[in-house]
Amino acid sequence: MSLEEQTEKKENRPRAPYMKPTDISDPNYFHKVVDCQWACPAHTPVPEYIRMIAQQRYTEAYMINWESNVFPGVLGRTCDRPCEPACRRGRIEEKPVAICRLKRVAADHRGDIEHLMPDIAPKNGRRVACIGGGPASLTVARDLIPLGYEVVVFDRDSRGGGMMRSQIPAFRLPESVLNEEVDRILNFGAETHFNYDVTSLKKVLDENFDAVFVGTGAPKGRDIDIPGRLEVQDNFHIGIDWLMSVAFEHTSKIGKKVVVLGGGNTAMDCCRTAKRLGGEDVKVIVRSPFDEMKASPWEIEDAQSEDIEILNNHVPERFLVENGKLTGIVFQKVKPEYDETGRRKLVPTGDDPVVVACDDVLCAIGQENHFPWIERDIGLEFDEWDMPVVDRTTFQSTNPRVFFGGDAAFGPENIIWAVAHGHQAAISIDQFCQSKDINERPAPDVTLISQKMGMHEWSYHNDISNEERYAVPHAEKVSALKDIKLEVELGFDERMAFEEAMRCLNCDVQTVFEDVKCIECDACVDICPVDCINFIKNGDEKDVRSRLRVPALDEDQSLYVSDTLPTGRVMVKDEDVCLHCGLCAERCPTAAWDMNQFLLKEGQAKNQRQVA
């Protein structure tokens, strides 16, 4: 024990844990500042493509998306947008940038991209089976076919696309958009077996495949077990099955009075579809309080704007049947109560039961995985919830030849997650087929480049727009409700797209601080419009956070800390609400601050190849 340590021990005082200088060479540091990209499962470089849109470079914007998320046209209409709640703009004003709908702009306005498609390498002799033809499998195919793999896709439906086709109604996602993006991949040279139900994984494994990817989604809609259920068979429909039947044009009408059970996005698609197939009085009835509904807020909004009533805190109790026909549903009214841990319990209010008359009921209370076709004796372990045991990084199952992705891997999620899984599984399959360690993942491609063009000129637009979020124009309601294939959202026109794109704060253009150049003149502190720069004495993180000009309360947001400066202080920048306006760099007399564009492209199978 050193003398210093002894003294400290005697005084019973812990060594002051000062904050260490931030290591900006760690790609994760700046990546995390680009909140949207960090939040995106596929880590799409959002600000970069938004900037392209503002410059009317739609094709390039589309290609940035296509590289990363494979289905820009689809996702630009249907994505669950984890990027938007993360958007920094949402922390300085009311609403985030309409990232998702800008993605659609890139898809709508792009030019020809055929010449930008990857070259397909000569066949390498390896065969990969993709079971299920949804977004996860298609991503695997997109990543592996250009590398020379022979990819064989099996799907029970008549066309590729999986849930993108069967569960998303055409008025939200036109078939032409879906077909184009799905076919582009299949046309790379995938061997397809449609209308083909795989009933045995063992059989597939026995065929001559080097690897098998399972991307079969969560295809089983949850049923409800309440009195009367078996008597109402004809007028009871499982939501996702019904949507599929509508998508493939097996169903074209429904009763006048429709009740949709459930509060997720499937429920929203069900009610809006019902409205277009003859439903006049369509109600969504949900157990939870309105605020806790699982559906995305914008989808709830769209349903409500089509005059669909939403009743919350209603638990279905039994079906009412007259002469063997469904006439209504009885609900018990409840209210939420929360225990100390915040867990919710729905408690009956004691009010009289509510009777809702209806002709048809659509049950959209969840969906599950279903693997009756996977034998349990092929070295593929299942866990206590009857889900396959899958590695979270490699997506490999306990049978080393079998990989999972999309909803099949960890339960129902969204398209963008399926794409992210697909990329990672493709990396693993590629490594596996070359007998390499699948835990070795390709590093992201990272560049950090100064944007300085002149004294106070930058190669990005740093003048912050004060515009509020633009709403996407919708088709006129009367005609929209008449035609199930008429797309409701019209998309931004070029002018609106430009204005919306200008709302982006360029969070990828990073403030880079060089402590040796700093003369501590305070100019950056004085000019910063959001008070994020500080020159203070160092301390432990909690202490430093509390002593900033505006205390940094959000601990998920990083602090950028410099080395000790001549006055003994450190520069601490709270990244939380930085506008990336570059004024700190403009007012800095010694160029200690500079604005650098940080571009991170997530590693994909092709990158691993280049390294190898």
Binding site: H456, E457, D463, A523, P529, E586, P589
Partner: protein
């Protein structure tokens, strides 16, 4: 200079003062001074002080002359009144304004050229008359607007940017203000707001002539090796004599200090200035001693900073002149024109 306007967005948790305003509400137009200019930090310190004092901007007037410093009132308190006068003539305009409307607070911002050269005579008489105002000199020892000639406050030993020698001794404006009878004299540094902001708050609460000499480096013409007004030289050679704590009228004093190490002075508006003596021998109420102290440091090549001299006993201009205690601009015909009886009685008294 920056070509974009400062974004309107501010931190969502930005504190609000007693008037419900944020410090952003006290800002002015975007500065056109050189990047890193000390003057912009002084503007920021004024913004911070006015914000913390809960001052309504429309109860304040900004007065200035000509020079880099005199441009700065545009860059703070955009909702206040202002007068940009002829070179060196700010003190007389401020004197007039003060007499016309003493319900406003006056901040005069001047530079070393505007005050120590062309306006030196004006300055001396504003001090001598105890005009009720805060007079800030943003002192960088150089004529920045005319590309870096030595000013009258440039120290004898301080070299020009190309190594030129200075032939003349400098004028110490803080010492000069004490000598001329200012009742509040301080010296600060643009790069140290912890010291400067409480000093500005105290000065704005003081009744009488408050003078603060702020060393404010010129990053373009006087921030090189060999200059005594560079960031680096100043930080190495500054000697804080007192630390000022400003205590608002109803605020209680919490921190405890050793007896004799602090001096509490109550200002006219019942706010308090707590002077923590960093130099035990210093007595800020003794002008002769204060002067001596400043000179002693100067001989050592050091600069004494802090609140150097404070006298709350002295009266300000209007009291000295025995004038009515209302703004002269509020006097109407009735007050200004005596009636015939009054005239008669005056005439009688003269017969």
């Amino acid at each position: 200079m920056s070509y974009i306007a400062k974004p309107k967005f501010h931190h969502p948790n930005l504190p609000r003062n007693g008037l419900g305003l944020t410090r952003r509400d006290y800002e002015g137009a975007m500065s056109t001074l050189c990047a890193g200019c000390g003057h912009d930090s002084v503007s920021a310190a004024i913004v911070e002080a006015c914000f913390e004092l809960n001052l309504p901007a429309h109860k304040l007037a900004k007065m200035s002359g000509i020079g880099c410093s005199s441009k700065t009132p545009t860059y703070f308190l955009s909702k206040s009144h202002g007068f940009n006068s002829v070179h060196g003539r700010m003190p007389s305009v401020a004197t007039g304004a003060n007499l016309a409307n003493n319900e406003l607070k006056y901040i005069g911002v001047s530079g070393d050229g505007d005050t120590a050269s062309i306006g030196f005579g004006q300055f001396a008489h504003a001090v001598r008359r105890q005009v009720d105002m805060l007079y800030i000199v943003e002192n960088n020892g150089t004529y920045g607007l005319t590309k870096g000639q030595f000013s009258a406050t440039n120290d004898r030993v301080s070299l020009g940017r190309k190594g030129q020698k200075n032939a003349f001794d400098s004028i110490d404006l803080a010492a000069m203000a004490i000598q001329l009878g200012a009742s509040f004299v301080g010296r600060g540094f643009s790069g140290d707001k912890e010291q400067l902001v409480p000093m500005i708050k105290a000065a704005l609460s003081h009744k009488g002539f408050a003078f603060i000499d702020v060393i404010s480096p010129c990053v373009t013409f006087n921030n090189h090796n060999g200059s005594t007004k560079s960031f680096e030289f100043f930080r190495d050679n500054e000697r804080s004599i007192t630390a000022t704590d400003y205590i608002a009228p109803r605020e209680s004093i919490t921190a405890e200090y050793e007896e004799g190490s602090v001096i509490d002075v109550t200002l006219h508006d019942s706010s308090k200035v707590r002077l923590r003596k960093l130099d035990a021998n210093y007595d800020p109420s003794d002008s002769a001693a204060a002067l001596q102290h400043i000179m002693k440091h100067e001989e050592l090549g050091e600069v004494a900073t802090g609140l150097l001299y404070l006298n709350v006993e002295d009266t300000e201009l209007k009291e000295k002149m025995d004038m009515v205690n209302v703004p002269l601009n509020s006097l109407g015909v009735a007050e200004l024109r005596p009636d015939s009886n009054k005239l008669e009685s005056i005439n009688k008294s003269l017969r």
